[in-house]
């Protein structure tokens, strides 16, 4: 299963190297994750009202090639693995057939007190299919 999310590069995304500022790729992949969980029926506002929020636990990111102003990018998100409490996603950003950025992000759900909680059911269920989905 592959989730695709389009991003257009605006002036605000760039830095004085005339390319996308590196930390902004983290925002792009975060937007894609938010879109992906929404599509799965998870309402992050409602989740927070119940006292839960998603947190990023670890990210390994490779910056392969720069993106520039007006580039039309696509964020691709795949599930690497899922357990009751932890979700590992492989995310990449492409411009056409060129991969510009690649990251593996580990996510968890915590209470507002910072304690780990079980992931919402639709995400846990991904773990059972995980082996099928990992390319």
């Amino acid at each position: 299963m592959l989730h695709r999310f389009p991003v257009t590069v605006y002036y605000e995304d760039t830095d004085m190297g005339a390319i996308v500022y590196h930390a902004n790729y983290m925002k792009f992949v975060d937007r894609a994750r938010a879109d992906w969980v929404r599509a799965m029926g998870i309402d992050q506002n409602a989740l927070r009202e119940q006292g839960y929020v998603f947190v990023v636990h670890r990210i390994e990111a490779d910056f392969l090639a720069p993106a520039k102003l007006d580039d039309l990018l696509e964020v691709q998100t795949r599930v690497k693995s899922a357990t009751r409490s932890r979700l590992v996603l492989d995310q990449s950003i492409h411009r056409g057939h060129t991969a510009l950025f690649r990251a593996r992000a580990t996510l968890a759900l915590v209470g507002l007190d910072g304690r780990p909680r079980r992931l919402p059911e639709p995400l846990q269920a991904l773990g059972k299919l995980g082996a099928l989905m990992v390319m």
Partner: protein, 133 residues
């Protein structure tokens, strides 16, 4: 070790009530800029000469959350240096607690994206730390 102070502002937080994860990357980037400035590297002049720094890889662990008004300190240490790239260990601390830890690999490149040698102020650090990336 280079130390750089950060205070957490409202704009740094997200709806989880903590610092938004991507903002740690901005914090450690500020620390790197401060560090290279202290080493005598003028990034504006460098760019005028056609060279900019680029992040090549980051491995980041988010250990504990920072919150509004926290006084943080970013610690920066070079761990590997070659002519073309430098690897830095960077950590964000609140008092005695480490909140964030990253290994950042940086390169220099031309404005066209071609690899360039690192400025000598950085390349010569290899003699100090004995690294060979």
């Amino acid at each position: 070790m280079h130390s750089f102070a950060i205070t957490v502002h409202y704009e740094d937080t997200d709806m989880g009530g903590v610092v938004y994860h991507a903002n740690y990357l901005k914090f450690i980037e500020r620390a790197r800029s401060d560090w290279v400035r202290a080493l005598g590297v003028d990034q504006n002049a460098l760019r005028d000469a056609g060279t900019v720094f680029a992040v090549h890889r980051i491995e980041a662990d988010f250990l504990a959350p920072a919150r509004l008004d926290d006084r943080l300190e970013v610690h920066t240490d070079p761990v590997q240096v070659s002519k073309a790239r430098i690897v830095l260990k960077q950590e964000v601390w609140r008092g005695e607690t480490c909140l964030f830890r990253a290994l950042a690999t940086l390169v220099a490149m031309s404005l066209q994206g071609r690899p360039r040698r690192l400025p000598p102020q950085l390349a010569q650090l290899s003699e100090m730390i004995g690294g060979n990336a």
